[in-house]
């Protein structure tokens, strides 16, 4: 049943031009960053080799691409999540799902999975770009995998938060702006914090994503993203169930 919902959601994403436009823009931006970094590496190969612990092709071309991808997702995921629930409410189609013999968790998880599937497309394109370097050199596969895991978790966190925000309003645009605000808030909350153990540092998305960018997959970061995703999925389920359960 989860997959019926996910399939329906994916289908409606790709029947509207929005999904294609988002994919095209994201791909152009990331490809531009990637190409200019590869170009930089080729032009400055001699100087780079003179640095004692000189950075490799992966550090110079792939990591910046994943760094920019986080900002790109921050801006584009609100556009993808905004209509998930709010548009169903607005068009009164929520009644079809609510009156069908499916639980709210199946609806929420189904829609979440559809979004993850969509984000995986973006991830796949990035991995393919990175792997294309193998044609003329070597890459640090471990670093690539750490970056990929980080971006998948970051995307999933954005998706879960965006899905919850979409449950709160019947206006897709309001949902988009709200999610964007929440993402930015989570992103910059530690910007003026100097001490590393501050609560704001521990809660900041950026801090936890940075770990993956530097190539380390730490349990703390995994737990952080896991908790964030589950919390917002459960909040979404509770929000939808509130309509159905005893008032």
């Amino acid at each position: 049943m989860i997959f019926t919902i996910a399939g329906k959601e994916l289908r409606s994403m790709f029947t509207s031009p929005l999904a294609w436009v988002v994919l095209a823009i994201v791909q152009s931006i990331l490809a531009w960053i990637f190409l200019s970094r590869v170009n930089f590496f080729l032009l400055n190969q001699a100087e780079i080799a003179r640095v004692p612990t000189y950075p490799g092709l992966t550090e110079i071309a792939v990591v910046p691409m994943f760094g920019v991808a986080s900002i790109v997702l921050l801006m584009s995921v609100p556009l993808l999540t905004m209509r998930l629930i709010s548009e169903e409410r607005r068009n009164q189609t929520m009644a079809l799902l609510m009156a069908a013999p499916i639980s709210m968790s199946e609806i929420v998880v189904g829609k979440f999975l559809a979004l993850i599937a969509f984000l995986m497309l973006i991830n796949l394109m990035m991995v393919l770009m990175a792997l294309s370097l193998l044609a003329g050199g070597t890459i640090d596969l471990g670093l690539l995998i750490a970056n990929l895991v980080g971006l998948i978790l970051l995307g999933a966190s954005f998706a879960a938060i965006g899905l919850f925000v979409s449950c709160l309003t019947t206006h897709p645009v309001v949902a988009a702006i709200l999610s964007l605000g929440v993402f930015l808030g989570l992103w910059i909350m530690n910007i003026f914090v100097s001490e590393p153990d501050s609560l704001l540092n521990l809660a900041s998305l950026l801090k936890h994503y940075e770990g993956f960018l530097s190539g380390s997959i730490s349990v703390t970061d995994l737990i952080y993203f896991g908790l964030l995703i589950t919390t917002f999925l459960i909040l979404s389920i509770r929000r939808l169930d509130a309509d159905r359960l005893r008032a």
Partner: protein, 336 residues
């Protein structure tokens, strides 16, 4: 009457109430529906019809009361109960960017129709709702009447025990209304159907029983024959060009109530239902040259019925309820 002779109860709602921001929209509504029965929920706009239906279908939580479908409680076991339920909301829940076939397949999958049975279920639902040649059309480009049929097809795709239709004929043209009504009657043969409407003749044309809601309360619940009776089923309205005095008519059709509606138009309600004053009236009109030009069964309009029911509701608030109103007893007890 024992349980073996009566069809099984498919839906039972007891004492449903719902308030919005402290104001009661539905107040102690109880319903019972048996297999093969069509019940009409009748009421003016804002009477609580849609709220009642949303509570019955599990899309809105009741503040009080319980609903069970084929004996399964809707709040404790929502998925099991909803599997036996088909629902057409007031606004059809249509994905306008899907084709009719795609949409019905999705609705079938959501309602647990097995993958192998889905093609047959879609064909059946399309045939019953007259959509056989529209399978490849985008829902968004269908006319309102056809969209309404897609909504109905969606509600019957999984062959549910209980079908809930919220104002299924609103916004359709007379031909479409006739077709939808005959479809509903057909569905009523082997399913239980609840239908809401604010059109009195629609209830009379389609339903076996009727419940009238007013301000969230059931003010009338009876079989259709009871409603006809209530509308003054055996009274006649006579229009005369040269009318005599009321007294003359009264002596002619005694014992009966004679009301003057306007100049030359009278409503005559005999005290005994089986007495038909028509013959006497025609004979007298010819004899005394009253100039009879219209003689018809007089039926109260919806508005008049509502006025009568609501006035009676107020008058009965302190007194005992008359025996003829089994449905309103329950609702008044709930609020007492």
């Amino acid at each position: 009457m024992s349980d073996t002779t009566e069809p099984a109860i498919t839906l039972s709602a007891v004492g449903l109430s719902r308030s919005y921001g402290g104001k009661l929209a539905v107040d102690g509504v109880s319903l019972e529906l048996r297999r093969g029965e069509i019940i009409g929920l009748l009421g003016p706009n804002g009477a609580g019809k849609t709220t009642t239906m949303r509570m019955i279908t599990g899309t809105l939580a009741p503040s009080n009361g319980s609903v069970s479908i084929c004996g399964i409680d809707l709040i404790d076991e929502p998925t099991a109960a909803k599997a036996k339920l088909g629902y057409l909301p007031e606004i059809s829940p249509l994905y306008k960017d899907l084709r009719v076939d795609e949409y019905l397949r999705l609705a079938g999958r959501l309602h647990n129709v097995r993958r192998s049975a889905i093609a047959a279920a879609v064909e059946r639902a399309k045939r019953r709702s007259g959509l056989s040649d529209k399978g490849r059309t985008l829902i968004g480009s269908l006319s309102k009447g056809y969209q309404q049929r897609v909504g109905i097809a969606q509600a019957i795709i999984h062959d549910p025990d209980v079908i809930v239709l919220d104002e299924p004929t609103v916004g359709l043209d007379p031909n479409q209304i006739r077709e939808i009504r005959s479809l509903i009657r057909e569905l009523g043969n082997d399913h239980s159907v609840i239908l809401s409407t604010h059109i009195l003749p629609e209830v009379e044309a389609v339903c076996d029983r009727v419940q009238i809601l007013h301000n969230g309360k059931v003010v009338f619940a009876d079989a259709i024959s009871g409603l006809r009776q209530f509308r003054g089923g055996h009274s006649v309205q006579i229009s005369l060009r040269w009318p005599p005095s009321i007294g003359e008519i009264e002596t002619l059709v005694n014992p009966a109530d004679v009301d003057k509606i306007s100049d030359g138009v009278f409503r005559i309600t005999p005290e005994k239902a089986e007495y038909d004053p028509t013959d006497a009236l025609v004979r007298a009109s010819v004899e005394h040259d009253w100039g009879l030009f219209q003689l018809a069964p007089a039926q109260a309009s919806v508005e008049e019925v509502f006025v009568q029911l609501t006035q009676r509701d107020v008058a009965d608030a302190d007194a005992d309820l008359p025996d003829a109103l089994p449905g309103s007893e329950a609702s008044t007890e709930e609020t007492a």
